[in-house]
């Protein structure tokens, strides 16, 4: 009996000491990692700023193809009329249609009128009620609530960064292009990327780059975690400045 008691005490002490050793080892591992990070770290010479991976050009202005924009608007309209004639009840086919800035209660027409690229936004009842547009001339963003728990932002830009010879970025671009599919509404390649703050759909059309972002309350929400919701959102696009051109 006495032997059993001694053995039990010894076992308990042994287990406690092993646990303590494990925790000590764990803390030591953290500190050791900190030291390794410090040894691997780089510093910056005070005498002269070292060269950085600068793109070959930060601000190349794209030429907007306004004629293509108007043609595509007409093509979309014809497609919609044809769809209505071929079936009694039919969902609107993917495409782009014109909508005046004045038809949105929170959109200031001035913001749309000063924008030097096609102002695009997704269509939707809740979006129409909450849509706002902010212009910076060569770029713009439109923001709105899409549904409960989902907000959106659609941004466009006519200036672009030219990466040039920076190998890592070029490799990334090539990889992203391979992952592109075709966006039917805009007849353009598109790519969906996801992160913990948004799900983004990017495409280029009429010479400008666009990104549609949706932000969900919970990134695990299927509307953000899967591509179907954002792809559907991008399937019907409104154009708010159909009369625009570079003469403005």
């Amino acid at each position: 009996m006495r032997r059993i008691a001694i053995a039990a005490v010894a076992a308990a002490l042994g287990a406690a000491s092993l646990a303590a050793l494990a925790q000590t080892a764990d803390t030591d591992a953290g500190d050791a990692l900190q030291r390794t990070l410090a040894e691997r770290a780089l510093t910056r010479p005070r005498a002269e700023a070292p060269p950085v991976g600068q793109p070959s050009d930060e601000n190349v202005e794209s030429e907007i193809n306004w004629m293509e924009m108007r043609t595509y608007l007409a093509v979309s309209a014809r497609r919609e009329i044809a769809a209505r004639q071929t079936a009694a009840v039919v969902a609107r086919p993917p495409g782009m249609r014109a909508a005046s800035a004045d038809s949105f209660k929170n959109v200031a027409a001035r913001e749309v009128n000063v924008t030097r690229l096609p102002v695009l936004a997704p269509e939707g009842a809740r979006i129409a009620q909450t849509l706002k547009v902010y212009s910076l001339g060569d770029s713009y963003s439109a923001t709105a609530e899409v549904e409960d728990g989902v907000a959106m932002r659609m941004s466009g830009a006519r200036r672009k960064v030219v990466i040039g010879d920076l190998k890592s970025a070029r490799t990334r671009i090539a990889g992203m292009r391979k992952a592109q599919s075709r966006l039917e509404s805009m007849d353009a390649p598109y790519l969906v990327t996801r992160s913990d703050s948004s799900t983004d759909l990017t495409f280029a059309k009429f010479g400008a780059g666009y990104v549609l972002s949706i932000m969900c309350d919970d990134a695990a929400d299927a509307r953000c975690a899967e591509g179907a919701f954002i792809e559907k959102l991008a399937s019907n696009i409104i154009l708010m400045n159909p009369e625009a051109g570079d003469e403005q």
């Binding site: 032997r3 010894a10 042994g14 000491s17 303590a20 050793l21 925790q23 764990d26 803390t27 030591d28 953290g30 500190d31 990692l33 990070l37 410090a38 770290a41 780089l42 510093t43 910056r44 005070r46 700023a49 950085v52 991976g53 600068q54 793109p55 930060e58 706002k132 902010y134 910076l136 060569d138 963003s141 409960d148 932002r153 941004s155 466009g156 830009a157 200036r159 672009k160 960064v161 990466i163 920076l166 890592s168 970025a169 990334r172 990889g175 992203m176 292009r177 390649p189 990327t193 996801r194 913990d196 703050s197 983004d200 990017t202 400008a208 780059g209 666009y210 990104v211 309350d217 990134a219």
Partner: protein, 302 residues
């Protein structure tokens, strides 16, 4: 036989004694090494991929004081850049994430070589999830609270494409498409985030402030003190203008709060091509080297 058993008993007692002595020594060593440990343990660790919990009683400032040298002999200026506290600015290479924290993404591009650094004070770029106070800190033996002094020191470390649950082309396996910036101290609502460039505030919602520049670049500032911003939606801002104080605001659209650490989550979108004439991609990009270059200029007083 009896002799053998008694010899066995004697051996067992001896081993037990040795075990007890080892246990006492180990326990003592553990007690000494943990006495006055850097930080009390944080709340229960969150599930993988989630933001870490908040410290209940963050200290006002965990940064150890800088030792002063003999005043008779002023210290020689180091030949590398130092911050306002005299600490050497050090950073790990782009894409070099903490072990077990994700694939990272190497992109050495300084997308905007002229932008300002997005904070007024010196800061520390490192993981909120895989370090002290983070839900996954124990993976690397980094047990402690978010205010642990070791979180508030150089070197900086990239957190772009740090592991999260969602798969995507940019960060295979799921990733964090932004950088986490700890403010100068662990005290929230104290340190300012500023506009990195001239532009316009295009969205203020839940726990983010978004600005855009005429170039099209979009900058997202997350987790500021949303109740006390210095900007309003639609406002034009100049490079260096104050936007808000770094905090831990994190809300769902119904106003429900989600726990997170005190930090600025910073994102950058660019419209870019590899070569002129190509159709552009407009996506989030890794701002790490853009921020390294901006901090370099900040420390030089440019």
């Amino acid at each position: 036989m009896r002799n053998f058993r008694s010899s066995q008993n004697g051996n067992a007692a001896g081993w037990l004694l040795v075990l007890i002595v080892i246990a006492i020594i180990a326990g003592g060593y553990w007690w000494v090494s943990n006495k006055g440990a850097s930080s009390p343990p944080d709340n229960e660790a969150p599930p993988a991929g989630e933001e870490p919990p908040i410290d209940d009683n963050p200290p006002t400032d965990d940064i150890p004081p800088i030792e002063e040298d003999d005043p008779a002999e002023p210290p020689a200026e180091p030949d590398v850049l130092t911050d306002a506290d005299g600490r050497v600015f050090a950073y790990l290479p782009v894409g070099a994430l903490l072990p077990s924290s994700g694939p990272g993404f190497v992109d050495e591009t300084v997308y905007r070589p002229e932008v300002a650094f997005p904070t007024e004070d010196p800061v520390f770029l490192n993981s909120q999830v895989y370090r002290y106070g983070g839900g996954m800190g124990s993976l690397n033996g980094m047990n402690g609270g978010q205010c642990d002094a070791r979180n508030y020191d150089y070197p900086w470390q990239d957190t772009f494409c740090e592991h999260r649950d969602r798969n995507q082309p940019l960060c295979p396996g799921g990733g964090h498409e932004g950088l986490d910036i700890r403010p100068h101290t662990c005290v929230k609502n104290t340190h300012w985030a500023i506009a990195v460039d001239d532009g316009r505030v295009i969205d203020i919602r839940r726990h983010w402030v978004t600005m855009q520049t005429p170039d099209g670049t979009i900058y997202n500032y997350l987790h500021l003190n949303m109740g006390e911003l210095s900007v309003v939606e639609g406002q034009e801002v100049r490079k260096g203008d104050r936007i808000g104080k770094i905090s831990n605001d994190f809300f769902k659209s119904d106003g429900t709060s989600v726990p997170t650490t005190t930090h600025l989550h910073f994102e950058m979108y660019e419209n870019y091509v590899a070569a002129p004439g190509e159709t552009p991609l407009f996506t989030k990009v890794n701002p790490y080297m853009t921020l390294v270059a901006a901090y370099d200029r900040k420390l030089r007083g440019e």
